[in-house]
């Protein structure tokens, strides 16, 4: 009696998660589509200045008002999404891919390779991101891509560690042992048995990382090490409008709201993916 009840609850929960997952996936898809076509959607040229229309409050004409230079904020927020979201996605994509590959190899082969790579990752983790960003800005100049590079160098070890520990655990599991006995090569083992099984945790880590990384990028822009003017980038726009929070609040609230919304959407998706992949929720499968 009790068991049946449990099963039903799990089923309901599971299908609830699935609905949520689909819902958030649609939201993210919309977000990405809007970002992709931002230039077409934007009602004004986001870089066109008109000093006579400086700091207009939000109105039907300018939905989010205008900035100091008379640029339309709504258009800038839209186009800024390209810089902010795509830079973040690229960053997370690259570090998760690189980290996973390195981590899996280290976990699988172990030995000297493992120790060396792990020490390198220690060095990267221990190196202050700010100093790295500065050095890169000094060598290659400021800009979004260089800020991304700086963050990538210090962030990949996180993924390498997740992948490594997962691989280690799998390596000792019975099904991998069985596969090994049946004569699979190392390459086959990694590709067929290990990678598919560690993708879940990596995906969840990556999803939840998007928000953090977006804010890190905004922080670097705030310190002048990220996007350079006049690039429309949310962090940049926020820090530029900051001093007018009390007098012209829309300057900072518009990009702030955009960051907030995006981070929330990605975080919710990340949470849902985690719930979805959680074996505890899949007993009914």
């Amino acid at each position: 009696m009790k068991d049946t009840v449990t099963v039903r609850v799990q089923k309901v929960k599971k299908s609830g998660i699935k609905t949520r997952l689909i819902f958030f996936l649609i939201l993210v898809a919309i977000l990405l589509l809007v970002t992709l076509f931002a230039n077409q959607i934007a009602p004004y040229d986001p870089y066109a200045q008109d000093l006579s229309r400086s700091m207009l409050p939000p109105s039907p004409e300018h939905w989010m008002g205008t900035d100091r230079y008379g640029r339309d904020l709504f258009s800038r927020v839209l186009v800024g999404a390209q810089t902010s979201i795509f830079a973040t996605l690229a960053l997370v994509g690259v570090i998760s891919l690189f980290g996973t590959v390195v981590g899996t190899l280290c976990g699988y082969y172990g030995g000297a390779l493992d120790s060396v790579v792990m020490r390198i990752s220690d060095v990267c983790l221990a190196f202050p991101g700010l100093v790295f960003a500065l050095a890169i800005a000094a060598l290659l100049g400021g800009g979004v891509s260089n800020a991304v590079l700086a963050l990538a160098v210090i962030s990949w070890p996180k993924y390498a560690r997740v992948a490594r520990s997962q691989t280690l655990a799998l390596k000792n599991s019975s099904f991998v042992a069985a596969a090994r006995l049946s004569g699979s090569t190392s390459g086959q083992m990694i590709l067929r048995h290990i990678l598919p099984n560690i993708l879940g945790p990596i995906l969840v880590t990556a999803m939840l990382d998007i928000g953090t990384m977006m804010m890190e990028l905004a922080g670097l822009s705030f310190l002048g090490l990220g996007a350079q003017p006049p690039t429309a980038e949310w962090g940049n726009m926020m820090s530029g409008g900051r001093s007018m929070l009390q007098t012209y609040p829309w300057l900072v609230l518009s990009p702030g709201f955009a960051i907030f919304l995006t981070v929330v959407i990605f975080n919710l998706l990340g949470d849902t993916v985690r719930d979805y992949m959680d074996p505890k929720n899949s007993r009914a499968r």
């Binding site: 000093l51 100091r68 008379g70 350079q228 007098t247």
Partner: protein, 520 residues
């Protein structure tokens, strides 16, 4: 385990209480003492003001501004010189000056400030401070009681103006430049602690030679963040602020605050890099490009909108309130003409990206500026848009590190800064600092035979009207070449709580905290 938990909880509670209990925010008025807190955005290492030692870089500025040091003469708002530590300064012949130090003057440690003390101070100054040595051209000095005789190596008509520069603050060289940076001057306040990029603590100079000092303790806080400055003034943590962003002015335009403002010769201007080793040399050495840049900057728009009207457009290096600022002329904002000029010189947009090219080189310039003068990045971004319209791409590098970057001629094409150009009430300092072969800050590598000749002439001319005439000619030379572009002058303001009195803005931007300062 339980113990750990209990401990943790207890700590949390203690902390929670502490955080809540520490809510009082009474001004630190202890024992009937009068205290004053001044917030300043510009007092920092970035502006070459890491401390208050007048013999180092621009550290003389905080020294004179915060009332620690005083100079021999004082520059009035109309540019004339008035006695301060010196009673009089007479020009005996072209190269000798006789300066009488006031008898009452003494250092804050009580030591009498006689001619010998002034001599020792100036000797050290010209030994360690290149710019000062260059300006002053002192060959020898002689001290006799209160009488100081200075002999210059060549005629120096504005020696006394230069001695009124912030580096001319007289400090007690018997104390010297102490480890903690607290030099001993003659001003109304005595420094007790200097922390670079953070604060200076001052106390009343009980030995002050020129009247009663009202405030017992002053803290000058470096506040590099504009919002923090505004909020600190709103919350009453600081009593007055220097360097408030114009965008925050509306917050203080009410009965609770007072403004003091004055038109200054602080000029937003740019210098073009003409060094041959600059990769952008081919572009910048083209007179058409320079002219187009001059034509392509919307000075009026910058003043009206981005300076919120707290300024006025510039033609030459000096405001037209000075004789040496009148009668110069240059081009004004005219995008159509700018396009025509570029077109004529062969700069055309061949690939349709909106940026012109010539001989395969893109018309792209690197604009170097810095953020501590909050309107500089605004000027950069405004110019970026207007110049793009005429087909010039502008890459902005707004960095606190601009002073070391400008020394590397390969790193920038135009350096835009905001300086007080006629702070000494005389035009010569500007040319001497920025425009001549020997100038320390001629980072663009400019050279003009005519300018050098005029500069020599200026150096030997003592009559102010004649000096003004030469200065106008020199400016015109710079303007005709378009290698120096002057954008606007600033109306400088300080904002204070309504109870503050005796705080006044001055044209030269030197004197801020004086003995007149009081708070009720």
């Amino acid at each position: 385990m339980k113990k750990i938990l209990a401990l943790l909880l207890a700590l949390c509670m203690v902390l929670g209480l502490a955080a809540c209990g520490s809510g009082s925010n009474a001004p630190a008025a202890s024992g009937g003492k009068k205290t004053f807190v001044f917030g300043d955005t510009t007092f920092n290492a970035e502006n070459e003001e890491p401390d208050i030692n007048p013999h180092y870089a621009y550290s003389g500025w905080p020294c004179i501004r915060y009332g620690v040091g005083e100079t021999l003469m004082k520059i009035a708002d109309d540019g004339s010189l008035q006695p301060w530590l010196a009673e009089s300064a007479t020009n005996i012949n072209e190269t000798s000056w006789e300066i009488m130090i006031k008898d009452a003057v003494c250092f804050s440690n009580g030591k009498k400030c006689d001619a010998a003390a002034v001599k020792a101070c100036l000797e050290h100054l010209i030994e360690v401070h290149e710019r000062a040595a260059d300006n002053l051209k002192i060959a020898s000095m002689e001290a006799d009681g209160q009488k100081l005789t200075i002999v210059t190596s060549e005629p120096n008509p504005i020696l006394m103006n230069y001695l009124s520069e912030a580096y001319g603050c007289i400090i007690d060289m018997e104390v010297g430049i102490p480890e903690n940076g607290c030099v001993v001057g003659t001003g109304p306040y005595v420094a007790t602690e200097v922390v670079t990029d953070d604060h200076v603590s001052l106390v009343k100079n009980t030995n002050y030679w020129d009247g009663e000092v009202h405030i017992d303790e002053i803290t000058v806080r470096t506040i590099s963040d504009g919002d923090t400055l505004a909020m600190a003034l709103q919350s009453g943590e600081i009593d007055a602020a220097y360097g408030m962003a114009y965008a925050s002015y509306p917050l203080f335009e009410n009965d609770n605050y007072k403004f003091t403002s004055i038109q200054t010769s602080r000029c937003f201007w740019g210098m073009v890099n003409l060094h041959v080793e600059n990769p952008g040399y081919a572009i910048m050495s083209d007179p058409a490009v320079r002219k187009a840049i001059a034509l392509g900057i919307n000075k009026q728009g910058f003043v009206d909108v981005l300076l919120n009207g707290y300024g006025y457009t510039a033609t030459g290096a000096f405001p037209d309130s000075f004789a040496f600022g009148q009668g110069v002329n240059t081009v004004s904002y005219d995008p159509a003409q700018a396009k025509a000029v570029l077109e004529q010189a062969g700069w055309v947009d061949t690939d349709g990206d909106g940026i012109r090219e010539k001989d395969g080189q893109k018309l792209s310039i690197r604009w170097l500026t810095y953020p501590s003068r909050q309107e500089l990045p605004l000027l950069a971004e405004s110019a970026q848009a207007t110049l793009k319209e005429i087909g010039i791409e502008v890459q902005i590098n707004s960095t606190k590190d601009h002073n070391s970057i400008r020394k590397d001629p390969t790193q920038w094409d135009i350096w835009v800064s905001a300086n007080v150009n006629a702070g000494l009430g005389d035009p010569a300092n500007f040319f001497d600092t920025y425009c001549l072969d020997a100038s320390i800050k001629n980072s663009g590598g400019h050279h003009s035979d005519r300018l050098e000749k005029l500069a020599v002439q200026l150096r030997g001319t003592f009559d102010p009207a004649a000096r003004a005439k030469i200065a106008v000619e020199m400016q015109q030379e710079l303007l005709d070449d378009n290698s120096y572009i002057f954008c606007s002058f600033l109306r400088m303001s300080m904002i204070m709580q309504k109870g503050v009195t005796g705080l006044e803005a001055h044209t030269c931007d030197f004197y801020e905290l004086t003995a007149a300062l009081d708070i009720n």
